[in-house]
C-alpha cells in the first residue's frame, strides 16, 4: 500500500475563484523522500496542508478528488485522528509553537501529551528529538527567547518526538544556517532509511538534488514535473516557472553558448557532475591546443 495516495485533487480556498491545487495525482511508497519545488504561490504549502489532512477539514473551501494517508481518507477522518500518524512542520515556527509551555523541553513534551504517550516513555523520546536537532543545551530556555533558526529546529523536534510514519515539512530550512539545513536533510535521510515517508517542500535545491529520491515541481497549482532529481532539476521548465536552477546547472547552460559545454551533454545538478563535465571540457581544449601546437 502506498503511504500517500493523491487522486485528482483540486482545491479552492474559501472566497477564492482560482484553485490553489489543480488535478493533482501521485502516489508515494513508504520510505521515500519526495521533494516538492515550486515558485511561491505555486501551491507547495497548500499541498502540504492537504497531505497533513488539514485541507479541507480546517480550511474548508471546495475540494475534489481524494488524499489517502496509509489507507485513511482525509475526507473521512478528522485532523485529530492524523496526529501522531502524520507530522507537519510549518514554514513559520511561530505558527507552530504551542505558546503554552515555558521551556523547550516542555514544548517537545506537548505533542506527546496530546497523542497520549505514556509519561515514562516521554523523556527518552524528548531527549532523542532534542539531540537530533542539536537543542539539548537549550532545553530549559523559553521557546520565545530562541532565534528564528532555533525555533525552527524546535518545531521539528516537537514533531520528530511523535515519530509519525509520514512527515510533511513545509520549507523547514528557511531560517536555518547552511549547516543546519544540511543536518536537517541528514536527519530526514536517516528517518527515510527506517521507513518514514517524507515530503519536503522548499527552495533548498542543493540539498534536494543530493538527498531526494524524487522531485515534484508545481506551477500554478499543477504538477509540471515528477521525476528523479537529475531530470527535474536540469529541466528548462524549472527556470520558466520561477523555481530557478542551481549555479552548477546555470553555469553549464551558459557555457554551451561559449563552446565550453557540449549541448548534447546533460546539464549537471550537483557539484560533482558539473566538475567532471567541465574537466572533460578542459581535456578536450587541451587536446585541441596540442594538435594546434604540433601540426604534422
Amino acid at each position: 500500500m502506498a503511504a500517500i495516495d493523491i487522486s485528482g485533487l483540486t482545491y479552492t480556498y474559501p472566497g477564492s475563484l482560482v484553485p490553489a491545487l489543480r488535478n493533482i495525482s501521485f502516489a508515494v511508497e513508504p520510505g521515500q523522500l519526495v521533494a516538492v519545488v515550486g515558485a511561491n504561490g505555486a501551491g507547495k504549502s497548500s499541498l502540504c496542508l492537504a497531505l497533513a489532512g488539514l485541507i479541507p477539514a480546517l480550511y474548508h473551501g471546495q475540494i475534489q478528488g481524494s488524499v489517502t494517508l496509509n489507507g485513511m481518507d482525509t475526507r473521512l477522518h478528522s485532523p485529530g485522528e492524523f496526529a501522531g500518524r502524520v507530522g507537519l512542520v510549518l514554514q513559520n515556527p511561530t505558527n507552530q509553537l504551542s505558546g503554552m509551555r515555558y521551556t523547550v523541553y516542555e514544548e517537545v513534551a506537548f505533542g506527546l501529551e496530546n497523542i497520549g504517550i505514556p509519561r515514562q516513555e516521554m523523556p527518552p523520546r524528548i531527549e532523542h528529538a532534542l539531540a537530533l536537532v542539536g537543542l539539548t543545551d537549550l532545553r530549559d530556555r523559553s521557546p520565545y527567547t530562541l532565534s528564528g533558526g532555533q525555533q525552527q529546529r524546535l518545531a521539528l523536534a516537537s514533531i520528530l518526538a511523535m515519530e509519525p510514519p509520514i512527515l510533511i515539512l513545509d520549507e523547514p530550512t528557511a531560517m536555518l544556517d547552511p549547516q543546519g539545513s544540511q543536518n536537517l536533510f541528514e536527519i530526514v535521510q536517516k528517518l527515510v532509511h527506517t521507513g518514514t515517508t517524507v515530503i519536503i517542500a522548499g527552495h533548498q535545491l542543493e540539498w534536494i538534488s543530493r538527498y531526494a529520491d524524487r522531485v515534484i515541481a508545481l506551477a500554478q497549482g499543477e504538477v509540471i514535473l515528477d521525476d528523479t532529481p537529475a531530470k527535474v532539476m536540469a529541466s528548462p521548465l524549472l527556470t520558466q516557472s520561477g523555481i530557478g536552477w542551481l549555479r552548477y546547472t546555470l553555469a553549464a547552460h551558459q557555457a554551451i553558448a561559449r563552446g565550453l559545454w557540449p549541448a548534447s551533454r546533460p546539464l549537471p545538478v550537483t557539484v560533482e557532475q558539473a566538475g567532471e563535465g567541465f574537466r572533460q571540457t578542459n581535456q578536450r581544449i587541451e587536446g585541441q591546443e596540442q594538435t594546434d601546437a604540433d601540426p604534422d
Binding site: 527567547t145 536555518l176 547552511p178 543546519g180 542543493e206 553555469a251
Partner: protein, 280 residues
C-alpha cells in the same frame, strides 16, 4: 553614512551573552554581509544600530549621531530595518498603508509619500496588490512588503535580516535588484544572510560572527579563500566557489560569469603547474 561600533558588549536578561566586544567600522556606501551560525549574534548586533537594543558597554554611532542618545523612532530617520520574520513587523490592513507608514512618520508631505511608496512597491513588484491586506499574501509576499517598507523610507542606512529566506528564484532576483539600486544611490547596506550564493553575488564585504565576536572581516573576493575551514562556522561555500575548487583552482570566483571567464582563459585549464600551449 559612516557606522562606527566600538567595543560593545551585550547580554540578554536571561544571561545569554550575545555580543562580546564587537568593534567595527562600515564606510558610507559599503554593502556588507553579516554571516555566521544561528545564535552567533548577527541579529543582536544589527539591532544595536537602530536603538532597538542598547549595549551594556561600548558605543555605537551612525553618522554624527550617538545611538545611545536617540530613540528607535529617531533612529528610523537614518536606519531602516527589516526583520527576518515579516510577521513581527507588519500590522496595517493594506499593503499601501504598511509601506507608507515609515515615510508618513518621518514627516514627509503626502505627495512625496505617494511617490516614495509607489517607487518602493514597484521595485518589489507589489504595485498590483497595494490594496490587499498583507495577511492575504503568502509568506514571501509579506517579506516583500517588509522590504518595500524599508526601501520607502529612503534612509541612508538599511539593514536587511535574511532578506532572501523563503523567497523563490525570481523574488531573490528582486532583492538583488533592490540592493543594486540602493548601492547606486550610495546607501550603506548591511545584510544578514545564510545564503552564501546571494552574499557572493551581491555584497562587497563579508563579516563572520561566532559566539558574539567577529572572527573574520574581508572583501567578498577573498573571504571564501581566507575562511579556510568555513564549515566549522556552520557555513557553506557558494556553489560556484565550490565548483571552481572542485576543478582544483585556488583563486575564488563569486558568480557564474566570473567562473566562465576564468574557464575560457587558459588560466583555469592549466592548473597544478601544467604548461600552456603558449609556453611551448
Amino acid at each position: 553614512m559612516l557606522i562606527q561600533i566600538d567595543q560593545i558588549h551585550f547580554a540578554y536578561p536571561s544571561g545569554v551573552k550575545a555580543l562580546d566586544g564587537i568593534s567595527l567600522t562600515i564606510q558610507p556606501g559599503e554593502t556588507v554581509a553579516l554571516v555566521g551560525e544561528n545564535g552567533s549574534g548577527k541579529t543582536t548586533l544589527a539591532r544595536h544600530l537602530n536603538a532597538l537594543l542598547r549595549p551594556q558597554s561600548g558605543r555605537v554611532s551612525v553618522g554624527d549621531w550617538q545611538v545611545s542618545e536617540k530613540s528607535p523612532a529617531q533612529m528610523a530617520r537614518r536606519v531602516a530595518y527589516t526583520f527576518q520574520n515579516p510577521d513581527e513587523q507588519l500590522f496595517c490592513q493594506k499593503v499601501w498603508d504598511e509601506v507608507a507608514f515609515g515615510p508618513q512618520n518621518l514627516g514627509y508631505p503626502p505627495t512625496q509619500v505617494q511617490s516614495m511608496v509607489e517607487e518602493a512597491l514597484k521595485v518589489m513588484e507589489l504595485s498590483d496588490v497595494s490594496l490587499y491586506n498583507p495577511r492575504d499574501l503568502g509568506y514571501s509576499g509579506r517579506k516583500r512588503v517588509a522590504l518595500s517598507s524599508a526601501l520607502a523610507m529612503q534612509t541612508p542606512v538599511l539593514i536587511l535580516d535574511e532578506p532572501t529566506a523563503g523567497l523563490d528564484a525570481n523574488e531573490q532576483e528582486l532583492v538583488s535588484q533592490m540592493i543594486s539600486i540602493l548601492h547606486q544611490q550610495g546607501k550603506t547596506i548591511l545584510v544578514i544572510s545564510h545564503d552564501m550564493d546571494f552574499v557572493a553575488e551581491n555584497l562587497d564585504r563579508v563579516i563572520l560572527m561566532q559566539q558574539g565576536q567577529i572572527v573574520l572581516d574581508a572583501p567578498a573576493q577573498s573571504f571564501f579563500s581566507r575562511a579556510k575551514s568555513i564549515e566549522t562556522y556552520r557555513l557553506n561555500l557558494p556553489q560556484i566557489t565550490r565548483l571552481n575548487r572542485y576543478l582544483g583552482n585556488s583563486h575564488d570566483v563569486l558568480n557564474v560569469e566570473q567562473f566562465l571567464i576564468a574557464l575560457s582563459s587558459t588560466h583555469i585549464l592549466t592548473n597544478s603547474g601544467r604548461s600552456t600551449s603558449g609556453d611551448k
